[in-house]
């Protein structure tokens, strides 16, 4: 990133299946706690696969009735995580140039529950009218718009939808707003709230969901293990405050990590099947952007969905980019614990990656009991591992083929 400003993370906030604060998330993550559990709600008995990683989040505790009337769960998550990130960064929006502060957010399905509620009313209940706020709650850009309105952020406001890489792309693009000097601060991340009956049924139909581990449902997501059977859907949000290194130093902010590289590429081959070449291109683009040699990366927070195809493909792509060094670096999939948060996955996993850099401790890949000859790297199996980490990479790949890779440097 020559001739550009250094970009640092000074604030983080989270709503996740592992807790609704960065501290709780980090403790659970490093202790190998799983947030995956059986769903117990009014439709769970109609599901073939009734496990998910839901967030223990009650909007009524944080928002007024009037606010809740216009906020889908996805926007509630985003706003709650954004406030944490601002607090964590020590930023008070009335005291900053909000015209030069923007919000880039990733989400896969936006207000899925509001869309579904509308359809339910029309098709199931036979009603002829929908709630006046349906469109405004369901649209993908609602969450980012509510953040802008709530804090008066008059800078760029863009929502990215590239399925599972949405928030990695949002954060990467936001980092460029800082790097190029267009903005003073960026609030960026992702949010997803798609644990609805219709959405889960649609995922069941894709046959990519993990079979329930009947002995231990919380261990159903088994990335890189020979007995892995698929992904587990999750929900939540993570938001970051980004600013220039000079800005952070000048105001005495705590720098959690520095974003030194971002790369994106498309598989351009198949709507669901990942490609080694495409994933490798995205990782190489991030390395090139950072000006780093592969040997400088110590840890990769993998996309690691737990599907048979992804994990083998990602392993092959890592080997293609890193060569023999692939066997020396550490790779882990924290989705084994927090599930696949889709449009929020990249953001939540960037929190995990930041914590690894801060704590010099690698979060584990849980439930990895059976080695797979196709997945033969060091996956930090089942226990967090202390290790020196200078540079860490976070991978996000997606249906539709868009990969987003971010490289962080220890501050």
């Amino acid at each position: 990133m020559s001739n550009t400003r250094r970009v640092v993370i000074t604030g983080m906030g989270i709503v996740s299946p592992l807790g609704n604060s960065v501290e709780t998330f980090g403790l659970n993550l490093m202790q190998g706690v799983s947030g995956i559990k059986r769903l117990q709600n009014d439709f769970s008995d109609q599901l073939e696969i009734n496990i998910a990683a839901s967030a223990d989040f009650d909007g009524t505790a944080h928002f007024s009735k009037k606010e809740l009337a216009v906020l889908d769960r996805v926007s509630q998550f985003a706003l709650y995580a954004a406030q944490q990130a601002l607090d964590n960064a020590g930023l008070d929006t009335p005291n900053i140039n909000t015209d030069k502060t923007g919000c880039y957010l990733g989400t896969g399905m936006g207000g899925a529950a509001s869309t579904e509620e509308g359809y339910h009313r029309l098709f199931r209940e036979g009603q002829s009218r929908l709630k006046p706020f349906t469109v405004l709650m369901a649209m993908n850009n609602a969450a980012a718009s509510h953040i802008a309105m709530h804090y008066g952020l008059g800078g760029p406001n863009i929502t990215y939808t590239t399925a599972c890489s949405s928030s990695a792309i949002a954060i990467g693009e936001a980092s460029r707003q800082i790097a190029y000097g267009h903005c003073d601060y960026m609030l960026t991340g992702g949010s997803e709230a798609l644990l609805t009956y219709g959405t889960i049924k649609a995922w069941e139909a894709l046959r990519t969901l993990a079979k329930v581990d009947e002995q231990n449902p919380s261990a159903s997501c088994k990335p890189f293990s020979a007995d892995r059977s698929g992904l587990v859907l999750g929900e939540g949000a993570a938001m970051f405050v980004l600013e220039s290194y000079e800005s952070a130093i000048a105001r005495g902010a705590t720098i959690h990590a520095e974003i030194v590289g971002y790369g994106t590429a498309n598989d351009a081959s198949h709507i669901t099947q990942p490609s080694v070449a495409g994933q490798a291109r995205a990782m190489q683009a991030a390395l090139d952007n950072a000006g780093l040699a592969p040997e400088q990366i110590d840890y990769i927070n993998a996309h690691g969905t737990g599907t048979p195809l992804n994990d083998a493909t990602e392993t092959a792509a890592i080997k293609q980019v890193f060569g023999p060094y692939a066997y020396q670096l550490a790779v882990s999939s924290t989705k084994s614990m927090h599930g696949h948060l889709m449009g929020a996955a990249g953001a939540v996993e960037l929190v995990a990656t930041t914590l690894a850099l801060q704590a010099q401790l690698l979060p584990p890949t849980m439930h990895l009991q059976q080695p797979d000859p196709e997945c033969d790297l060091h996956y930090v199996a089942n226990h967090a591992a202390p290790q020196q980490v200078r540079y860490a990479m976070s991978n996000s790949f997606a249906f539709g083929g868009t990969g987003g890779v971010i490289i962080l440097k220890k501050s």
Binding site: S64, K65, K66, A69, V70, S128, R129, K131, P132, F133, L136
Partner: protein, 86 residues
């Protein structure tokens, strides 16, 4: 049967989480914190409650009493018998 104004007042107070007593018939909707979309949302809730359908209003809806009047007019048109209405 509960007065329509009372019903509207209850819906608004519930939505805004304010004391019902602060809402008068001539309270201006925008002044008590309801923009046009919020008002449609209140009318939508009233539709469910009264079992009526409200077309896009022709007259300007400005006060709480305007909302109640609109509903009363539709109740007369759309409900031949008001028996059983709460």
């Amino acid at each position: 049967m509960e007065n329509t104004f009372e019903t509207v007042r209850t819906l608004i107070a519930n939505k805004l989480e304010i004391d019902k007593a602060t809402i008068a018939p001539d309270s201006v909707l925008t002044e008590i914190g309801l923009d046009s979309l919020d008002t449609f949302d209140i009318i939508f809730e009233a539709e469910d409650k009264f079992g009526i359908k409200v077309p896009t209003p022709k007259e300007e809806i400005k006060t709480v009493q305007d909302v109640a009047n609109l509903l009363d007019q539709l109740l007369l048109e759309q409900s031949p018998s008001l028996q059983g209405q709460k």
